[in-house]
Symmetry: C2
Subunit: 357 residues, 2 copies
């Protein structure tokens, strides 16, 4: 490994878990520097926008998406320089979505601190998110100088699709919430999170990373087969963590999904397996807006989930998807030379279903 | 003129005003069709997003921005096909900004109907705006087939800058509102609206139109010299209409700017020329959030503006900018063959300062 390689700090560690975490952390720091480099100067008029864009990224998220893009590109033999800008843009998009999601969901905590709209008000939060989407375009155009025209255009297409899929997935969920519709099936839930989570958290990073490395459509497809079930498993684990995590690790509002009435596989299973009278009460509680729900309401849902074994059911679905991802990766990995980047990708399967934050 | 030309329906009219309005209307209808063509199918999962994206455009705005892009391209000898997709994207962006602005400003009326977030809730409104920004990217990439690579990339750069300038301008204003800061000077106001209004309403459409027609950097610059003062005059006229328009024509909430405490040149002048005690009271009123302001508060501001002749002052500034735009256009027009498109651009100067909606 060269000095300054994304995983150099992990080189001396022995445990796989540590090397994985170190890879994440190293990617995160590099991507933060790159984000600082691509954002316009904060001293220009209106430049406070750029200070506020750094707020969520500096709170220290996992930066999973850029690590995934970097690892894919480098595992395929691409250079860090070919993918770093794209990785930074993916992280900007992710944080823009988080800001807007927090507004949309009325969330109060993000990475253990108050959400941006609680600190600065909804108007500024909406605008900072818009500014981040705007600030992503120029770096993707300048990518032409880094990776050539063909790859830069393909990456732009991937980012465009990612933004579209995310908005569609979010629309499906918001419609369910607004209509207090608890008819969704497992299939409906899986389609929603494929769009809302899997596309921008897994598919876009691996596709962009593969393209940055010069991978062709076949390579992209192989990575999509790996990333799609992984994204599904990731979101289900996220839903489960919201109910079970220790708050000091989690950084979001515990039980927030119950307060918000979010459509998780866990709740879908709990509502489905409840008795008719329980189902009626659960639907009544879930139809209330967040501010009208009581502690007792949330405790009722929590208990219903416990009795239905909804968490265990959902985690079973997650494990099956993770196994599918592991299978796809095993086939894919035959074409990859051994490297810490390949190891990181391989470690993702276990990480996704075992993580505690 | 060919049949189906954007101004064909204006051909038989005699008055300049009617031809101008007909050009606007014809462009609007074409652009609506093009928006329908570029949006994904509403029947796909999450596709209600695309129904809601059409809500504001179908309410019948002026569609000034696409008309400006079309007229610029065609006045320079470009084809309608070269600019129509870009014009549709500019209109999508405009409507996305309107949706998010309405959320940010807590506005209640848009084009004489209830704002999107009042009808569907803030979460859906924020997401529909995000979806519109997302849906704009693919058509701009497909532009390569219509206008070639160089022009398509330059148009992407223009749209990226437009989005950035708008977010910066919005940030300046939101910061003033949030800090109840009434220190802005005329110069500060002009810089804010240059970014917030002029860039996306005038500069981006003329630049994109010029590029679509194959105009070089010199042509773009000449159009920028025309569009910049025009954008300033347009926003000041908009501020004045908010205080003086007949509600049946205006379509927005009359006196909404006073309720929202918006930083208009009119209010800046009124606060500046008030006595110390009046200024104190005005600042107290302006610092209140919208929901805490009383009818009496708004009447006080209205009266202060009347006594300071703030509207007249601001319209004087608007007229001086319009005159500058007319001067720039006169120089520019020497290079343009006579056409209804050139006539439309020429008519803009009068329109901007004389319009009543």
């Amino acid at each position: 490994m060269q000095p300054g390689d994304p995983v150099s700090s992990a080189g001396s560690r022995e445990s796989g878990g540590s090397a994985f975490e170190a890879y994440l952390e190293d990617s995160r720091l590099r991507v933060l520097d790159e984000i600082r480099a691509i954002l316009p100067d904060a001293r220009r008029p209106g430049g406070r926008l750029y200070e506020l864009m750094l707020d969520y990224p500096l709170r220290g998220g996992k930066a999973l998406r850029p690590a995934l893009a970097i690892a894919t590109c480098r595992a395929l033999g691409g250079h860090l320089e070919a993918v770093l800008r794209t990785a930074a843009v993916l992280e900007l998009y992710h944080n823009a979505f988080l800001i807007h999601d927090d507004v949309e969901d009325g969330s109060e905590l993000r990475r253990s601190e108050r959400t941006l709209h609680l600190v600065h008000g909804v108007p500024i939060a909406v605008n900072v998110g818009d500014g981040m989407l705007a600030a992503s375009m120029a770096p993707l155009l300048e990518n032409i100088e880094l990776v050539g025209l063909g790859r830069a255009l393909r990456i732009l297409q991937i980012v465009a699709r990612m933004a579209r899929e995310s908005a569609e997935g979010q629309m499906i969920e918001l419609d369910w919430v607004r209509a207090a519709d608890w008819s969704p099936t497992d299939r409906g839930y899986l389609r929603m999170i494929y769009k809302k989570t899997a596309w921008y958290t897994f598919l876009a990073p691996v596709c962009a990373g593969a393209v940055a490395a010069g991978g062709d459509a076949q390579v992209e497809r192989a990575f999509v087969r790996f990333a799609t079930p992984l994204g599904v498993a990731f979101q289900i684990q996220d839903d489960a963590l919201n109910l079970t995590a220790g708050p000091e690790r989690y950084g979001k509002e515990l039980l927030g999904d119950l307060w918000e009435g979010k459509h998780t596989l866990i709740l879908i299973e709990a509502v489905r397996s409840a008795s008719p009278s329980e189902r009626t009460r659960a639907r009544e509680v879930l139809a209330k807006p967040r501010c009208a729900k009581t502690l007792e309401d949330v405790a009722y849902l929590h208990d219903l989930i416990r009795r239905s074994r909804g968490v265990e059911y959902a985690l079973g679905v997650a494990r099956r998807h993770a196994a599918r991802a592991a299978h796809s990766f095993a086939r894919l990995a035959r074409g990859l030379a051994p490297s810490p980047h390949r190891d990181f990708l391989s470690g993702l399967v276990a990480y996704v279903v075992e993580r505690d934050r």
